[in-house]
């Protein structure tokens, strides 16, 4: 039984989440009060996010179990450096997306419903915040559903085109199937072990005497649920369709924050439930019941290869970036597959950098689409000359996504490959490297259109106003700066490696 004092104690661990919930309520309230003038809502949301962020920073060094059951030591909510790192990524992404939305024509056109838009966006954020801290299968399921339901709505939010509605419906169908399978998996685990708590699951697994085939089956089903969130192959098929159909701001949000939350969930799930101990050099030793490493490597290679190869022949930039984000999920999965602290470090660093460069690329595509109403690569001919700032910035983001120096993307890949080589996964590293080479083609193709092709009649100059210009610079400068001076990210990530285990 969960007694009251326990709950009160635990509440202090979820202050950021509470702050975020209050912000959602306020957003809805203000939406009702300010019927006509809704300009104020984004600011309320921003303030709410900053306050939430402040609370996250305030508990940066804490590590604790929250919401324990009875006399048990371990709870359903875990607060540690790892969760805080991802919470910061989620909050920063959300803040950037708020700015992003205020410069997206698709969102501006539906301005009268902006209260709903921001409330749903925050709903997604709240779901993610719980996802990265969840250490109980029930909480995991609930938070995934909270995230999913909000994102289904937001995908079809603008109702401007058929494409939009189609994307939303597809997402819903596909998502329901996945979460159904996941819930099925969870119920089997509960049936086998009698617990939904990851820590207790770990204890029971250590003790043995569990039917491994059945357990493996359930784990695969749970993995489907998470794999669909991080768009790992072969559960990624929804991604391009949904990304292309959704408003660009939501696409960007899904490709960064939602993916980050999914990864955090997967990492915690594996580390907490299936690692018996971590040795001095930081290698995770799995319980010998389920070969996560092989599964992850296969899925990772499949994901990055499918993502990269599909991106090759795309001429719609949004769709290309969708495939590219699938490929990046593949690289990230490899970092996890190393199953060591060094691999985890690589994943954390990668996510931070991926956040900046991917949001930057989407933002510029958004700014250009605002003006020319197209995301087709052929409409980008000569745009590097007509719109110098956007051209150069997009070039930098794409080079960084490829992973070439002197951009931050190189540092991300560098740490990833070092982790792979250190773990003697040379073959896998070579495959990943070859994949990077393939990705060079489609990223550089955009540069070719922007700089080597002459501007034609359909090319229009896109000169952003001051605020978007500042946002672009705020994203470009870190990409270049962290490419040369990356110690801050590395030490920040190093401080957040701590995943609370038993």
């Amino acid at each position: 039984m969960m007694d009251l004092s326990n709950i009160f104690n635990s509440i202090s661990f979820v202050i950021p989440e509470i702050a975020l919930s209050i912000t959602i309520v306020l957003t809805v309230l203000f939406d009702l009060i300010f019927d006509k003038d809704k300009k104020i809502i984004p600011y309320i949301v921003l303030v709410g996010l900053l306050v939430t962020g402040y609370f996250v920073f305030a508990q940066m060094d804490f590590a604790n179990f929250g919401f324990t059951v009875g006399d048990e030591k371990y709870g359903m909510f875990t607060l540690d450096g790892f969760s805080n790192y991802f919470k910061i990524i989620i909050l920063v992404t959300t803040i950037i997306i708020i700015f992003f939305s205020s410069h997206s024509n698709e969102i501006i056109k539906t301005f009268d419903r902006s209260g709903e838009y921001y409330a749903l966006l925050l709903g997604m954020a709240l779901g993610m915040m719980f996802m990265v801290s969840a250490s109980d299968l029930i909480l995991i399921y609930l938070s995934v559903e909270l995230l999913s339901l909000s994102s289904y709505v937001l995908t079809g939010f603008t109702k401007l085109s058929e494409r939009n509605a189609e994307a939303s419906l597809k997402y819903l169908i596909y998502g329901s199937v996945s979460s159904g399978l996941m819930l099925f998996g969870i119920s089997i685990v509960y049936g086998l072990t009698g617990t939904t708590n990851l820590y207790e699951l770990n204890t029971l697994l250590q003790a043995g005497s569990i039917n491994l085939t059945t357990l493996g089956f359930s784990l695969i089903l749970i993995f489907v649920g998470i794999g669909y969130k991080i768009s790992a192959a072969p559960f990624h098929f929804w991604t391009p369709d949904v990304y292309e159909g959704a408003p660009i701001s939501i696409t960007a949000y899904l490709s960064v924050a939602s993916k980050a939350a999914g990864f955090a969930l997967l990492i915690r799930f594996i580390k907490t439930s299936f690692v018996s101990y971590t040795d001095a050099s930081g290698n995770w030793h799995l319980l010998g019941i389920f070969d996560w490493q092989t599964l992850l490597i296969i899925i990772a290679i499949l994901t990055m290869t499918l993502g990269n190869f599909s991106a090759l022949s795309q001429s719609n930039l949004k769709r290309m970036l969708a495939y590219s984000s699938i490929a990046h999920a593949g690289y990230l999965l490899l970092g996890l597959a190393v199953l060591s602290d060094q691999g985890l470090l690589a994943v954390l660093i990668y996510f931070f950098i991926y956040m900046i460069m991917n949001l930057g690329a989407f933002f510029i595509v958004n700014l250009i689409a605002n003006k020319i109403n197209s995301e087709d690569i052929h409409d980008y001919d000569g745009i590097g000359y007509t719109s110098p700032l956007l051209g150069v910035s997009l070039a930098i983001f794409l080079v960084s996504l490829t992973g070439l120096p002197p951009t931050a993307g190189f540092i991300a890949k560098l740490y990833l490959f070092i982790a792979l080589v250190d773990a003697n996964m040379i073959t896998v590293a070579v495959i990943a490297l070859l994949n990077t080479v393939v990705s060079l083609y489609y990223y550089v193709r955009v540069l070719k259109h922007m700089y080597l092709n002459k501007a034609n009649e359909s090319t229009q100059a896109v000169i952003p106003t001051l605020q978007p210009r500042i946002i672009v610079l705020a994203l470009v400068i870190p990409v270049l700066l962290f490419g040369i001076y990356f110690t801050p990210i590395v030490s920040f990530a190093q401080n957040c490696l701590n995943i609370l285990t038993k």
């Binding site: 419906l169 597809k170 169908i173 596909y174 199937v177 996945s178 399978l181 491994l212 085939t213 493996g216 089956f217 695969i220 089903l221 489907v224 669909y228 192959a233 072969p234 559960f235 098929f237 929804w238 391009p240 369709d241 070969d291 599964l295 499918l306 190869f309 599909s310 090759l312 022949s313 560098l414 740490y415 070092i418 250190d422 393939v438 083609y441 001076y485 110690t487 590395v490």
Partner: protein, 645 residues
């Protein structure tokens, strides 16, 4: 102040950013010039303050590391971005920022009206930024960063007049030549750096050098490291066989020649050798090589300088020759003397170039000394300062060049041998001769320019730097008065450098003793010879021009050989460049590239493209199909699970 030494590097960077980003919008030359010059001026000020602080520290505390941040910490390689302030680096910094500041000021006048005024100052500041990193870096990687940075700036500035012709080719060709030749040297430097990391497991100066001093490491290893580093130095500091780029570098604006291609960047190789003195000292064979290469370069470049007719070309070969002296000094183990000559050379050679710039400015871009004459009448300040510099480089006693050159010559005998001294002294005589050939043809004799040319003295903004440099060329040598005059321990500069070079000198362990008489005798001979060469050149080229013409025609073969610079460019052209071009066209391009590589690349690209189309077809857009694949995925995973159990 030492703790803020990074400011001396940030000021020029700020200047570069301001002028580089907004220069085209500022437009006002004065503001651009002031921003550029004051950036370097402030840097100079902070260097002086740091120098004073260093002076007041006890001798064993004069090595300070200023750490900024950890730059790289991956896979066992830990590189800190840190600056090393010690006796050596502070002297170099003083030279670079001090002379650099004067040249910046001078450029305000010289570059007046140029359409690329802001670009020029931006590049110049970027150069100082890179050069300061090179000098102050506390490990080989930061040094290399600066090393490449100055190479880039040199390239940009040689090619500054990118739309002009230069000699037989164009300016960009000259810039490219410098870039490519330097790449060869840099490759050597990189190899040296890799070898250092492999041997010492570190790139940090203090760590590497202390290990080099105390660890048992084979001489072969040291020899290879020193050889590779020296190859790097021959590229940057224009020594045989890689000196060919420096004369062509004169295609750049004259202040650039003064700053980069005379006073500072080209001495980077000498600095690097001096910095790694312990490594070189541990490889005696390479030390001899350094000395011989330096000596030969000094001699041959000086002979080429005898017959050149372009004022900047004469100075360029003179620079190559003087750099040879510095390597001679380093090669015999007199690292302090090498740096001493770096300093005095910076003063008088910068002055010579700036004076030449002033003349060129007055003569409407005319650079052929056969078309000058009697300019002392029109340009008194330029004339006076120029002749002071010429006396200094010729080694007239009392001026700065005398002290440093004499020290080098003496060590070339006392630590080397008599042959070194003879060739070195002979070079000094030739130097005196060609310098006064240049002075006589330019400032004395009859006016040989057309009536439409009206030479005039340059504006104050140009002449004041000349005067300051002239002052330095006179007094700059008194920090290093030879002990024979100043008494035991009286050479201030030598004492200053002592802690830096002591380990290397201890390792070299040369010398028997030499008497004061020997030193005075050799000094007397070389001074007398130089003075007579000055007089001889003056007489021949102002009054009895026919002697020169007669001599030239009587040894026509030799004359032409010298005029064509020993045909080295032609030899390189036919022995290296042509074969490479032929092989690259006939074999590498037409066969290897077109057939083999393109075949493989295009083939794999096609393959990837087809795969991509197949994969793309899977993306049907039908949700049921997606679900089907998901189920297939789950089934496969299940089978795998069952099979592995």
């Amino acid at each position: 102040m030492i703790d803020y030494i990074y400011l001396t590097i940030l000021f020029p960077l700020a200047g570069f950013l301001i002028n580089g980003l907004f220069g085209s919008k500022i437009k006002n030359e004065k503001i651009i010039g002031i921003i550029g010059s004051s950036a370097v001026g402030l840097s100079f000020l902070f260097t002086i303050l740091s120098f004073i602080q260093l002076l007041n520290l006890p001798i064993d505390e004069r090595t300070r590391v200023v750490e900024l941040f950890t730059w790289l910490n991956v896979a066992g390689l830990n590189i800190k971005f840190a600056y090393l302030v010690d006796q050596l680096s502070i002297v170099m910094s003083l030279i670079v920022t001090g002379v650099g500041f004067l040249i910046h000021v001078y450029s305000i006048g010289y570059m007046h009206g140029d359409k690329g005024f802001w670009r020029f100052f931006a590049y110049l500041n970027l150069f100082i930024f890179a050069m300061m990193n090179l000098i102050l870096g506390d490990n080989f990687l930061v040094l290399f960063l600066g090393w490449e940075g100055v190479g880039l700036c040199s390239y940009l500035l040689i090619g500054f007049y990118y739309d002009r012709k230069f000699e037989k080719g164009t300016v960009p060709e000259a810039a490219k030549k410098a870039f490519i030749v330097n790449r060869i040297g840099d490759f050597g430097f990189l190899l040296g750096m890799f070898l250092i990391y492999q041997t010492f497991d570190s790139l940090n100066f203090l760590e590497v050098f202390s290990k080099a001093e105390y660890f048992p490491i084979s001489e072969t290893t040291f020899s290879f490291i020193a050889l590779f580093l020296f190859i790097g130095a021959t590229g940057k500091s224009a020594q045989i066989p890689l000196y060919v780029w420096l004369p062509d570098a004169m295609a750049g604006p004259t202040p650039v020649s003064a700053l980069i291609h005379a006073a500072t960047m080209v001495t980077a190789g000498v600095y690097m050798v001096a910095r790694a003195s312990i490594i070189f000292a541990s490889a005696p064979a390479i030390m001899t090589l350094v000395a011989v290469i330096g000596l030969l370069t000094a001699f041959f470049a000086a002979t080429i300088g005898l017959v050149q007719t372009d004022i900047k070309k004469v100075l360029a070969y003179s620079t190559v020759s003087q750099l040879g002296y510095m390597f001679l000094a380093a090669g015999v183990g007199a690292f302090g003397a090498a740096i001493f000559h770096v300093m005095t050379h910076a003063f008088f050679k910068a002055l010579l170039f700036l004076g030449a710039g002033s003349v060129i400015h007055a003569m409407h871009e005319q650079q052929d000394i056969r078309n000058y004459g009697n300019l002392k009448k029109y340009m008194p300040v330029t004339y006076l300062t120029f002749i002071i510099a010429a006396f200094a480089i010729a080694g007239v006693p009392g001026l700065s060049g005398f002290f440093s050159k004499d020290e080098i010559l003496w060590y070339s005998y006392s630590k080397g041998n008599l042959t070194f001294w003879i060739i070195g002294a002979l070079t000094a005589v030739i130097t005196a001769f060609y310098m006064f050939r240049l002075v006589s043809l330019t400032f004395f004799g009859k006016e040989r320019f057309g009536k439409d040319v009206h030479p005039h003295e340059s504006p104050k903004v140009m002449t004041i730097p000349l005067i300051v440099l002239a002052f330095l060329s006179i007094v700059g040598g008194y920090v290093g008065i030879p002990e024979i005059f100043s008494g035991e321990g009286g050479n201030a500069l030598k004492n200053w450098f002592k802690p830096i070079f002591a380990p290397a000198e201890a390792k070299l362990r040369t010398f028997g003793s030499h008497s004061h008489f020997e030193e005075l005798l050799l000094m007397g001979i070389s001074v007398a010879a130089a003075l007579s060469a000055i007089y001889f050149a003056y007489v021949v080229y102002t009054r009895k021009k026919e002697i020169a013409d007669k001599t030239a025609s009587s040894v026509k073969g030799l004359y032409n050989t010298l005029l064509n610079k020993y045909y080295v460019d032609e030899i390189y052209e036919s022995s290296v460049i042509k074969p490479i071009l032929i092989i690259s066209e006939k074999v590498l391009w037409k066969v290897t590239d077109n057939k083999l590589i393109d075949g493989i690349v295009n083939g794999s690209a096609k393959l990837i493209y087809y795969i991509s189309i197949i994969i793309r077809k899977m993306q049907t857009g039908v949700a049921q199909f997606y679900a089907l694949i998901m189920m297939i995925g789950i089934s496969v995973a299940l089978f795998w699970l069952i099979l592995t159990l």
